[in-house]
Subunit: 392 residues, 2 copies
Amino acid sequence: MELPSNLFDALQRIQGFLPETGAVLHEPRFVGNESKYVQDCIATGWVSSVGSYVDRFESDLAAYTGVKRAVVVANGTVALQVALELADVRPGDEVLIPTLSFIATANAVMHAGATPHFVDSEEKSLGIDVPKLSAYLDSVAEKTSVGVINKKTGKRIAAIVPVHIFGHPVDLDALLDLGRKWGLVVLEDAAESLGSLYQGKHTGSFGRLSAVSFNGNKIVTSGGGGAILTQDEALGKRAKHLTTTAKIPHAWEFVHDEVGYNFRLTNLAAALGCAQLEQISTFVEKKRRLADEYRSLLKGISGFKLLQEPSYSKSNYWLNALVLDTSFQKHRDDFIQRAHEMKVGVRPVWKLLHSLKMYRDCPRSDLSVAEKLERSVICLPSSPFLAGGRRT
Amino acid sequence: MELPSNLFDALQRIQGFLPETGAVLHEPRFVGNESKYVQDCIATGWVSSVGSYVDRFESDLAAYTGVKRAVVVANGTVALQVALELADVRPGDEVLIPTLSFIATANAVMHAGATPHFVDSEEKSLGIDVPKLSAYLDSVAEKTSVGVINKKTGKRIAAIVPVHIFGHPVDLDALLDLGRKWGLVVLEDAAESLGSLYQGKHTGSFGRLSAVSFNGNKIVTSGGGGAILTQDEALGKRAKHLTTTAKIPHAWEFVHDEVGYNFRLTNLAAALGCAQLEQISTFVEKKRRLADEYRSLLKGISGFKLLQEPSYSKSNYWLNALVLDTSFQKHRDDFIQRAHEMKVGVRPVWKLLHSLKMYRDCPRSDLSVAEKLERSVICLPSSPFLAGGRRT
């Protein structure tokens, strides 16, 4: 199919703005202390599961996000899994998560032994639609002496996991109110939103526990990696213990006091993470500038809007996104195909989780907004170094 | 308590052999291409979950160990967990493992949803006592149409996991025979034995699937890391898919077809691993030399013996170990305490798994040999660069 001229115009402007060689969706660039810190690990031999960069990465993260404790782990998926387990999500429970999210959100729930219960999103933040969830819970859930019960399945609903999609914060005040009303714990999936603020405070600092990711495509990377954040020091201590094989510290004895995990982040990875975190203010600033630049660039073209941070937030704009008007949704795939031919590394949003075969039979609310968003969202190349546009 | 003079003599000779600054149990040293390869990752930006070092580490490992497929993952624990799952170990099953092993062996069984069923070890290899296991199975197990059933618990026994303790191979022919007799799958926990040969072939190449570790204390390290080895290409393909979020490859679409794991090893870690693996022949040679040197050094001192590779094997001697005679077992802790004061980083063997509180109620055979070994084994500093002794 031929692309309509407005979409083709948008694509041409984007191509002209990006480097001549094109751009992938998101990639890191290491121009700070990355080499130095990583070399330090190699030179000293401290590359493995303990080391000064592990300790420093944890304290730097806690300081940056304003939480009491950060525990670094192998990746964001296992961070969320452990957060769920520490929040007393138990096998057989259901966990409310948006269907519009990366697979890790649902997998972490499964790995904790629970079942995802999919809920809808709203168009401003792309995150959980809180009023809609509230109405849904009124219809489907019941507060009992053993917790909130899903009247349809008979299972306990144990937690709500908001995801700050593309870095844009969910309306946390409203969500936390809803959690309190029902006695449901809120755990933030802040994998994409390190550096994003809700009402002036960092995402990841609101949930009982939160999960962050440092995968290679994130605003700050440690190669692979993640962290559990919490304001509760006892939970933070438990998170550290559980993710480091539950070993009781001793100079030579090997005693473990529960079934723990080997989810440790290596000192080598933490060294990279420390160097990256030193630069996060610059990254956030550049990514916000890039969002402004896309907005100027595409001004006056009809058929879509650019996703903007919700009014209550300051977003890291992890990924910039176009949202196609209804009448242009049918051109989504052609746009993506054509963009790739032009070396513009766009992508659609993830396939909705409830539509994947292993999650098809999970409980869910009406998901019509997410379904509409799936047809209309296109993510744009968003690496921080793209800010400023093509260098001549 | 005062150390008996023979043990004190041994300790003094060891101290005199090791560097003046002392020695920890095992540590890496990076004198090959480690810096170069890691810098290459930083310079190119390829630090995350895909990259050329990941591919190369997998093919180098397969070539070195003689298996059809190696899949690198975050660590040895998750390698074993996934190996168990791919071998059709199911929730509720029991898995036969030695009580004399690192916690990871038991935890991996639990993470796969199964229960460890502890068996005894023998004194030559410190690994599973196969004749004793055979007699035990005759008494406790029953072959039925739904598999091997533990008559006491009524549960299915699904697999046997031999562990090549300190690098010394278990008697694999005998164990594989026993597995065949009962229809039980054998999965090798080769976390400690990369480079060790059984009848001239690499440990890790015998089990349906095997787990290897590249933790910082292993003969070859990637900081943290592990691998699943298999001779079955279809299982290898499944292992790769399952450990990389079960995503169906596509340039921009995100479709996953089962509940996968994010157990990927990063390209940064794989780069370190590649450089280390280039040197493994030297490491094995040095570690075998160190074993010889300890033997010469301690010759003529009574009260213990040094553990030697079983006759059917060529061991990597990952850890050298003293085994105290019965009458000297009471001095174990004093020896360890004194050694640490002298900066000789010895350690006892792990606390037996069945004695840890979370594994106390698991099924088990008589474990008297393991119990004796726990009281008598002391591991000695075994880093490859210690070979040759103190430099003057």
